[in-house]
Amino acid sequence: MTALATTLANAFNQPSFSDTPHMAPTVFERQMGVDEAMMQQVLAEALHNGGDYADLYFEYSLRHSVVMEEGIVKSSSVAVVSGVGIRVLQGEQTGYAYSEVLESGPMCRAARAAAAIATNGSVPLEQAWRFNTRKLTNHYPVLQTVSDLPLTEKIQLIQQAEATTKAQDSRIVRVTVSLVDSVTHTQIASSDRDLLSDTRPMFRMNVHCVAQDGSNLQNGTAGMGGRVGQEVLGQADHPVRLGKQAAAEALLLLDARQAPSGLMPVILGPAQSGILLHEAVGHPLEADFNRKGTSAYSGRLGEKVATECCTIYDSGTIAHDRGAINCDDEGIPAQENLLIENGILRGYMHDRISAQHYGVEASGNGRRESYAHYPMPRMTTTFLANGESDPEEILGTVKQGVYCESFSGGQVDISNGDFVFVPTVAWLVEDGRKTAPIKNFTLIGNGPEAMSKVTMVGNDFAMSEGIWTCGKDGQSVPVGVGLPTVLITEMTVGGMSE
């Protein structure tokens, strides 16, 4: 069971350093004395019982946050976390251990724990070899990270967002604004002799407010972010924009009526509705589920799984997107993967184990939350390619239905393909027009079935703002989604009005 939840639970996001993602020597060698010889020693220890492959995943992250609430700058925090994950693979079996002390002794002890999986006999690594340092394309170059912004300037940004939100209406009774930035350094060393490093910035700004009218209380939220630098803050007046957006949402919901109930056409507006793809298509196409035969899409490569107007990609290469990665957490460079082409299932998202299982190239989707977790196939940024319909024309075809604009999240049952997603801003559609805002409902559908009912795809593609965190098996990773306006001819709308 997997959930795509909003970023209010701001777990692990961050901003970055200014140069290319492969500075030599890395922070691990410079500051912690982890050199090639030490990494070779740990890899040798990891393979001392045997195994086909071993890798070390080093991580060092620095995260800052500052929060404004009830009109005051309430608190700031800094978090520094480092560690190394050590993995041994034998066939499809994984041995895993980690150490938070990056010294030879503790790392070798962890390597011996990871080695417990292997039984096929020691394959001694030859002496005195060199790593091949691999270069990566940088999909998130920044001139200056948000982390380098002085605290006083960050405070000005959140104060501005707070004041804007409040100023929208006297019914806005509470505002909380947070700004979180981080920089995560990673370095991967493998028994294949690859050595790669990456520096991953992440930034996130979030506004939450409550609007009150008598006993009617409603939430409004707005957020933005991604692997961006300070320059993004100069490009537009984001604090003002977010403040207005959050207030508008809460105020709109004060006047919203109960949503209808039953089967009806659903129009998904551009950008955030991409979570449809994340739940209905994305998770079930993660190859671990298919390798184990537990996905609704298992064994269906080459088959028609959606209407012809659906062409769907997952890409880790979208510049500065929250889902972007220069390489995955197994050292495979990010790429754009075609999942569904004109309705035909073309490929899965792989990690190293599933790629080997299927005899294909790894797709750059082996991701993990941190050094304390082993990688598994995960999405990066999942999107549906632009179609041809005018969004107004799509709206015009619906006599009675709902239009969804923004969401708080979703969830999917991989095995049978049933998924839900939960709209926040949505409208009743009557005779081709959005008539009234509606609230308090869940949409439920079945992945392959819903995708067979996508009959119109708009020409207004938009990427969602960088606010999404995906959870799977207890591991959270940042992801992106995107979508043009889409019509699903029939879905179950779970509201409360007759």
Partner: protein
């Protein structure tokens, strides 16, 4: 010297360092843990994981301004730098008059042994754990030839946590936890259902502080198999309004969300539909809900809360009337009350069980739903609205009939509490929410 004693020593050094750098007040949580986990599929070890982790969280304050740091590096010279950086940020914060350490007289460790630590924990060999996991898979697969394994797993952990503050509070506790479970997958070939050609997954697990309190593997395998096989042939139900029987797991999900609305943090933020309801009837008079921290061996038990306030039982709903909220020091300051020892949220949330067996609850329904799964984020504790995806089994004439899926159920928290009329006997103890199953008179089902 025990690990907790060592941690206490380090905690005192860190507090001394904070003071010497100029912090007026400080609170510190310092923890280490060692965890083991094995996953098995098709009689092979899929993964084996063993590791130790550590963490420090330090909040420094001065004149009502506060800033915090988190690190997994315990070296004093690293921490010294972080403390300096944190103190540098302090003057940029605004004064928060509501932020204080707890009243000293409320702090302390509740007397009594809460059975946190399984003395056998360290003597269980990894091989034995792996054997159990393999055995559980075997036991599950022999239940029915259609079953395949998604995963059979065993995990355990031991943690040592110390809390200290500049009030002089200094306590530590070591805890163990053990868990074993299996999740299965089956092809749904029932042509009468709407899931024909799809798959279903389900499973069962056991979880306890003491390893010898885990359910027998045979029992876990049987329950897991029964749960998945009863899902075959599911259909989408018609939209209607009917009584709904919540399974213990779904009752837990509902109460977990309800408990957020009872937290002072959400009440003073006006993010709780219960904000102005203290003293009012909010539930059926049969409903008795409390927070009970001092139950030996239970997973949510604690002797003091996250800021050292001594734990004691707290009644939340009595005869359907909301009588108390769960308060941290900060929330209590905001609301003009005293801390109830709920920094960090619930301990054990206990819904008092009733008189009915599972069979009797099902028999009580002529036409309705036995709810076994919920999904999505559609429980809104600010507004009290509730709309979630569901799966379950339809009840006809008091008997379980066809499985149902791909529908939503909707109501509001207040209507659900008011309509909570029958409570089960048996309590699920696998989490910090101790609840029986219950019947809610009426909810809106949206299907076809």
């Amino acid at each position: 010297m025990s690990i907790v004693e060592q941690h206490k020593g380090l905690a005192q050094e860190i507090l001394a360092e904070s003071r010497s750098q100029g912090a007026e007040q400080a609170t510190l949580t310092l923890a280490t843990a060692t965890a083991f986990q094995v996953e098995v599929r098709e009689a092979n070890i899929e993964s084996l994981k063993e590791a130790g982790s550590s963490g420090i969280h330090l909040v420094l304050s001065q004149d009502g301004r506060r800033s915090s740091l988190t690190s997994n590096d315990f070296r004093l010279d690293t921490l010294r730098t972080l403390i300096r950086d944190t103190l540098t940020a302090l003057p940029h914060m605004d004064r928060d008059e509501w932020y204080t350490l707890p009243e000293q007289e409320l702090q302390g460790r509740a007397p009594g042994d809460l059975a946190f630590l399984d003395p056998e924990h360290e003597h269980i060999a990894s091989d034995e754990k792996v054997e159990d996991t393999l055995r559980l898979e075997e036991l599950a697969l022999v239940q029915d030839s259609r079953l395949r394994t998604e995963q059979s797993y065993y995990s355990d952990a031991i943690s040592h946590t110390v809390y200290a503050d500049s009030n002089g509070f200094l306590e530590g506790i070591s805890k163990t936890i053990h868990s074993v479970g299996v999740s299965l997958v089956v092809e749904d070939n029932d042509a009468s259902g709407e899931n024909s050609g799809r798959k279903q997954t389900d499973g069962w697990f056991s979880c306890a502080r003491f390893r010898n309190q885990l359910e027998p593997l045979e029992e876990i395998a049987k329950v897991a198999s029964g749960r998945i096989l009863r899902k075959l042939g599911a259909v989408k139900p018609k939209s209607c309004e009917v009584p709904v029987v919540f399974s213990p797991e779904m009752a837990r999900s509902f109460l977990g969300q309800l408990s957020s609305a009872l937290l002072g943090e959400n009440v003073f933020r006006q993010q709780s539909f219960l904000a102005d309801k203290v003293g009012q009837a909010i539930a059926n008079p049969q409903v008795q809900l409390s927070d009970s921290p001092l139950l030996p061996g239970k997973l949510g038990s604690r002797s003091y809360d996250h800021e050292g306030v001594q734990s004691k039982p707290l009644s939340l709903i009595e005869d359907g009337v909301l009588c108390n909220l769960m308060l941290s020091t900060y929330a209590a300051n905001k609301l003009g009350l005293r801390s109830t020892g709920h920094s960090g949220g619930i301990s054990n949330l206990v819904l008092q069980p009733g008189a009915y067996t599972e069979e009797e609850l099902i028999e009580s329904v002529e036409d309705g739903l036995y709810l076994t799964f919920l999904s999505g984020q559609g429980a809104n504790i600010t507004t009290g609205d509730y709309s979630r995806g569901g799966q379950g089994i339809w009840i006809r004439n008091g008997k379980l009939a066809e499985p149902v899926s791909e529908f939503t159920i909707a109501s509001t928290f207040l209507e659900m509490l008011g309509n909570l009329t029958m409570l089960g006997k048996e309590v699920d103890t696998r989490s910090a929410i101790l609840t029986p199953m219950f019947r809610i008179e009426r909810m809106a089902i949206s299907g076809t």
